[in-house]
């Protein structure tokens, strides 16, 4: 009974009070955030700011996937890492910093790259996925998996001074159901030719540009996890894609 009346600890009321008084969040939204599990694929320029704001907001479980180690050339934009962490696995570096910010959260370290072999087992553990990667191959892999496992997906990217954000597979209905939101393959049926794909290493990137995109991913995720049903429907109505998941056949990753 006591637990029902005070569903959060005193420390949690203090920590999350300023966001709980925002209309449309409230105690119910905070509890939904606490019950949510979010997978962040990529602990780089997008994943660093996205994960730090999700940890701040009190998401219950945060998983991070990345096989890379921290390099000096990352530090101008990958703000969760620091100079003393060069050479360390990015996932371990990120989680040690996130734990210091908010120890109330369960963090899962996936210190390997996503592959067709491990993707289903990893994605299946979470409610929502953030694509913070930097290559079309991983973007199709993640999107196709999210379609098959019915997970909403927030995808962002950035290059030079441009950024892009798209909320995919929302709502995440079974493949073929026309009421489901579009997936990455609906929007981009054919992968781009390899020579048109420019990485941040080749094209360059301003830190605050990729930073804004990562924080916006966190915002979309917070909205998706804390929102009431009405808000979700309102967002849905704003989408106007013609194709829906299952129209173009996803690759078989499972």
């Amino acid at each position: 009974v006591t637990q029902r009346r005070w569903p959060l600890s005193e420390e949690e009321y203090k920590r999350y009070g300023r966001q709980m008084i925002v209309p449309n969040v409230g105690i119910q939204g905070q509890l939904r955030l606490k019950a949510a599990s979010i997978l962040i694929v990529g602990a780089g320029g997008l994943g660093c700011p996205a994960s730090v704001y999700l940890a701040g907001a009190g998401v219950g479980i945060i998983g991070i996937v990345d096989g890379d180690v921290v390099e000096t050339s990352n530090l101008h934009r990958q703000i969760l890492h620091n100079t003393s962490k060069v050479g360390m696995k990015k996932v371990d570096s990120a989680i040690s910093n996130l734990k210091a910010l908010n120890p109330n959260i369960k963090y899962n370290a996936h210190t390997e790259h996503l592959t067709p072999q491990n993707v289903a087992e990893i994605v299946s553990q979470y409610d929502l996925v953030l694509d913070c990667t930097d290559h079309p191959t991983s973007r199709y892999l993640i999107s196709d998996t999210c379609v098959l496992l019915q997970k909403p997906l927030v995808s962002a990217s950035a290059l030079r001074t441009d950024g892009q954000l798209i909320v995919l597979n929302t709502p995440p209905l079974p493949p073929g159901n026309e009421n489901g939101g579009p997936c990455y393959r609906c929007v981009f049926p054919k992968p781009p030719p390899a020579e048109s794909v420019v990485s941040c290493g080749d094209g360059g990137i301003l830190g605050p540009v990729v930073g804004v995109m990562g924080v916006l991913q966190a915002l979309e995720a917070v909205n998706a996890c804390s929102a009431t049903a009405e808000l979700t429907l309102e967002k849905l109505a704003a989408m106007d894609y013609a194709f829906f998941c299952g129209v173009a056949a996803p690759v078989k990753v499972l």
């Binding site: 320029g45 930097d134 290059l159 892009q164 054919k190 094209g203 894609y241």
Partner: protein, 107 residues
């Protein structure tokens, strides 16, 4: 080029495509209302026109591949995905805003 009638439109490029078009994101163009065959000009016509007349860069294949806008480029007609508007067959209207966005992959 036949008829004296022209249509004013705005063509925008982003996601790096502007680098193929003299580093200008926004182009105010005046296009003929009819093509050589007397048909209303459509997006398919516009894409060829951009490639042949407006693009100074030699890397045409970064914009058009096999006669179509290359994969990875999103086309928005007045802020709506062109798939809703008939894609390349959409007939241009005065003051249309046509946006070509190349998908970014960096992160």
């Amino acid at each position: 080029m036949e008829s004296g009638n022209t249509i004013p439109i705005i063509v925008e490029f982003s996601g790096g495509l502007e680098m193929l078009f003299s580093d200008e994101r926004k182009h105010k163009l005046s296009v003929p209302a009819k093509d050589d065959q007397g048909n209303a000009v459509n997006i398919g016509w516009l894409v060829q026109h951009l490639c042949q007349e407006v693009m100074k860069d030699s890397r045409k294949e970064m914009f058009v591949l096999d006669g179509h806008v290359r994969p990875g480029i999103l086309v928005l007609i007045n802020d709506a995905d062109w798939e809703l508007e008939g894609e390349a067959s959409y007939a241009l209207q005065p003051d249309d805003n046509i946006l070509f966005v190349s998908t970014l992959h960096g992160g």
